[in-house]
């Protein structure tokens, strides 16, 4: 009687998905196992190429897992992963060798939204050690919501030049998004809200870059 109770508890434990760090042999060591072999091979090759090119490979694996979760077929997954790889490579070319993995990911998103690489290079050229991640995220989002690319890129760049910090960009995004949702023309919304942000001197104290290294930025 007792042993069957224990067995039942044991079965219940197996069904539960709480993970305790220490002793488990990590099944996540093989996350791509659900891909068909040829897709898996191609994805792993792309990840290897990313590693060798000193690009973060985490976003590639993540994209594959996303595709698996969204029940996409192997071909679509491979196309999506390849697109991420190319975007990261182009982002690296635009931002330079000192860009962090997060900046590359954000820049890849901006490129994907249609921002020109030359715009990204401009931002990168005037960094002074400030992380580009937040402005790039906001830029990509606004373009996706309908702000014309030129307007968005120019406005963000101007704010960046004037010393806007992450909080400024975030606040800007939040108010512009609310305006767009309430029916304001996206371009108008952005230009109006951008004016509300005061210019700052070049010596504004900014927190140091998050500095997540490409090789282990599997976030």
């Amino acid at each position: 009687m007792r042993s069957s109770l224990l067995r039942a508890i044991a079965l219940l434990a197996i069904a539960t998905t709480v993970s305790f760090a220490q002793d488990t042999l990590d099944p996540a060591a093989d996350p791509l196992r659900r891909l068909d072999p040829s897709t898996r091979y191609a994805v792993e090759m792309l990840m290897d190429s990313a590693r060798l090119a000193r690009l973060p490979y985490g976003p590639l694996e993540s994209k594959a897992l996303e595709g698996i979760a969204k029940r996409a077929n192997g071909r679509d997954i491979l196309v999506a992963v390849r697109r991420v790889f190319r975007a990261l490579r182009d982002a690296r070319a635009a931002l330079g060798p000192s860009a962090t993995a997060d900046e590359l990911t954000a820049a890849a998103g901006a490129l994907r939204a249609g921002i020109a690489a030359s715009e990204l290079s401009l931002l990168a050229a005037t960094r002074n050690g400030k992380p580009l991640t937040m402005p790039l995220v906001v830029l990509a989002d606004l373009v996706t919501r309908g702000v014309p690319r030129d307007t968005a890129a120019f406005t963000i760049f101007q704010l960046w030049q004037r010393g806007a910090a992450d909080d400024d960009f975030l606040g800007l995004w939040r108010s512009v998004e609310r305006d767009i949702v309430s029916g304001t023309n996206p371009s108008v919304a952005l230009l109006n809200r951008a004016r509300e942000i005061p210019a700052k001197g070049p010596s504004t104290a900014v927190p140091p870059a998050a500095g997540v290294r490409p090789e282990d930025a599997k976030s």
Partner: protein, 199 residues
């Protein structure tokens, strides 16, 4: 197999031959290992699972999250360091400074507790998926209170892409977060930038 070696470039073969040399064993290290093993409880099949179950269970949250929860903070969603209430009003959040010193990882890598919220009264189940949990819908199920679904997740500082999965099938972006352009599969994902704890 030796015939495989023969097919290698002679210089690479030399590297392999040298690399195959045994590494002299450090007897002291081996002894330390045996001591450590003897200090461990004897492993056993199956029963171990049961004793684990019968022990009081703790959810292992990093110190920051525990402190934040203890302080009764809600809306700890750290989107750029500012908490968002659902009505859109920002509320500044100060995580207890003492907690920051308790992390074992260097500060720049210390995970932070982030709250995700989705209002979906019609949903029967909602979970959070993203690059931090392999997009696995079983990993971070959300809990509903009056149609508002929430979950706390421990995230490394930096950029994360995520989505909500409603009723196991519908991928829904977070209305309160920036959009990640083009997921490539016909859905929209959201982006969160988790900030480092302030030094």
């Amino acid at each position: 197999m030796t015939d495989e070696l023969d097919s290698l470039d002679p210089n690479v073969r030399w590297i392999v031959t040298e690399a195959r040399r045994p590494v002299p064993a450090d007897a002291a290290a081996r002894d330390r290992l045996i001591d450590a093993i003897n200090a461990e409880p004897v492993p056993s099949r199956g029963l171990r699972l049961v004793t684990w179950l019968l022990q009081p269970r703790r959810l292992v949250l990093p110190p920051l999250a525990t402190a934040a929860l203890a302080a009764g903070l809600v809306g700890v969603g750290v989107l750029g360091g500012i908490a968002i209430n659902r009505d859109g009003r920002p509320a500044a959040v100060q995580l207890p400074a003492a907690a920051a010193g308790q992390t074992q990882l260097p500060d720049s890598l210390a995970p932070r507790a982030v709250k995700f919220v989705l209002i979906a009264p019609q949903a029967t189940n909602v979970s959070l998926v993203g690059d931090f949990n392999g997009w696995d819908s079983g990993a971070s199920p959300m809990k509903a209170t009056d149609g508002t679904w929430t979950v706390f997740v421990s995230l490394q500082p930096g950029l994360h892409t995520y989505s909500f999965v409603v009723d196991g099938r519908h991928f829904v972006s977070d209305p309160t977060a920036p959009i990640a352009p083009g997921d490539g599969f016909g859905h929209r994902s959201s982006v969160v930038l988790v900030r480092q704890p302030s030094l």
